[in-house]
Structure formats: structure tokens, C-alpha cells
Symmetry: C2
Subunit: 181 residues, 2 copies
Amino acid sequence: MLEKRKIEEVLTYIEPGPVTLVSTSDGKRNNLMTVTWTMASSFSQDLVITSGPWNLSFETILETRECVVAIPPASLLETAVGIGMVSGADVDKFERFSLTPVKGEVVSAPLVGECLASIECTLTEHIARYGFLVLKARRLWVNPDLEDRRICHAVSDGTFFADGERFDYRRLMEAKLPPGL
Amino acid sequence: MLEKRKIEEVLTYIEPGPVTLVSTSDGKRNNLMTVTWTMASSFSQDLVITSGPWNLSFETILETRECVVAIPPASLLETAVGIGMVSGADVDKFERFSLTPVKGEVVSAPLVGECLASIECTLTEHIARYGFLVLKARRLWVNPDLEDRRICHAVSDGTFFADGERFDYRRLMEAKLPPGL
């Protein structure tokens, strides 16, 4: 169901600024949180998310030093919003939202079967004064079977945009395209 | 032409993960760079961009401790790509790309008349080991006259998506909407 892809492609999922689902496992239970404060930060698969003690998963990431950053398609947007509105203290979110936890290769946190991409990440550093979790992407898994391949973007006011018209400037940017893309 | 808006709305321009133009002034000359590694990081108008010595504007931001983060509409995307492909050492990018520098209220770096939004920012901290420039948004200016109001998102491979279908989950998210939005 999920296919492993070359790690350089992580950038193509993070740089556009997607709504993400971050999955964790504390050894006993899986959990999910919705994170829209994300940033690509290098051509070597570094990325950052902002989180804090208000997220139950945050403590788990600090303790386990790992997580999976997954990218839901637009068809899963209402689910992603719902995941952000309930606490994993009360429910198993994979079960509640009918998502499939899939075993990865590097981390214990589960991949998300229904997402466009699931990125296995390890924690490089927690910069506490800003809530930055600096992550290194280790493996990239994609679900090639999903029909809706639109990434979503949070507008912060309760509305979201899915990707629309595509523009191709590969020729114009040729001299500056990242290696491997 | 540009209207000042309440500062809380900054989040609605940064959280979606837009292609941005970052403008600077070193006291003698204005400059522009295209930045797509951006992140919202608080409900108090903190944001972060990743940059480094490879950008001429980067040194100016460190020296002046300020910049303007502007959000171009899809109709300006080819211009934004072009801005990323030339160095401000050689050309005045405002002139070359027919953009209008507009005086702001707080910083010397110019607002960009043709952008959807121009955010006056001061530098809070440079986290050198990751290239993070942590910024505080001070003023938000928008151009209400632009017809194309689609924000753009970089896919990293030379292609870009403009915002497409909009989804409204304000009711579902009511309990968690940021103050002022």
C-alpha cells in the first residue's frame, strides 16, 4: 500500500506549507495531532514544526525523540480538523477517525495509510523558547493509490485552501533546482 | 493604495505557507529576495524564515534587524521566480521587475505595492546553526485592489500551486480559532 520514495522528495511535501498530521507512539499508544506551523529548512531534509505543552503529542516527541509527519489529501481535511479538536488523552485517534497505522522502518511512530506522504523523522533539537521542534526526515513513504492528491493549506481563520492551478517554472529555475528533484 | 489592517491577520497570510518576497533596505538601496521556507510560530505575530549567506539580503537583515515579508498573488508568481534567479548586487530588483516600493511606518525596508500583503517585521533572533530568522510582525498592509487574490505555494521542483478550492470549517473549529480572526 505505501511505497518508499527517495528522501530528497520530502521537500516537495513540506515546502508548500501543508496541513500535517503528526503521529507519535509512547510505546503503549499511538496518537495524532494536527500541525499547520511547519517549515522546510534545508536541502538535507531538515524541517521544523512549532508545538508546545498544549499538545499531548509534544511530550511524547520530546521523550521518544521521533515522530511521523504525514500529509493528508484534501479529501481527508475534515478528519484533520477533527483530529485537532479532540485530545488523545480521551480517545485512540487512529480508531476514532478510521485511519490505518502502518509500521515504518526507523521510528516507532506509525505511518498513516490514508495520507499522501508519511515522513519518518527524528528530533534534532527542541528550541524551547519558540516551541521549535527541529526534525530530520529519515524515510519518505507515499500512498500512490489516492485519487485526491491536493495538499491543503490552513488560513488560520477556520478556512482552508486546497491546491488549485499548477504553474511550471522548471525551465526558468533550472540553475537553482535542489539536487534530486 | 495600501491599507493598514489589524496585526492579528498576519497569521492568515503566513500560516498557509506562501511564496514570499522579502524586502530590505541597507540605507542606500532596496533589495528583494524570494523566500519559500517560512513558518507562523505563535498567536502573537511571531514568524520565522530560513535564509543564509547565499542571500545578499540576509546580511542586510542581520545588520538592520528588520525586513518586510510580502505575499505576491499568483499573477505575480513568474516575477517572484525571476527575483529568486538574479542577485541584487547587479540590479535594483524593484526597478527591474516593475514593483513599487512603498514607505511603511516602522521599518525602512519598503512595502511592495503589487503584493496582497506586506508585513513590516523586526528581527527577534538569528539562530545561526539552522539559518532561522525569527521575526516579529509589527504592521500589516494589504492591497485590496488586486483581482487575483490567490496565494502561491512552492513544490520545490520548479512547480507551484495557487490556492484552489476553499473549505470552511469555522463552525467545527469555533472553540480553537485564534483571537481576532
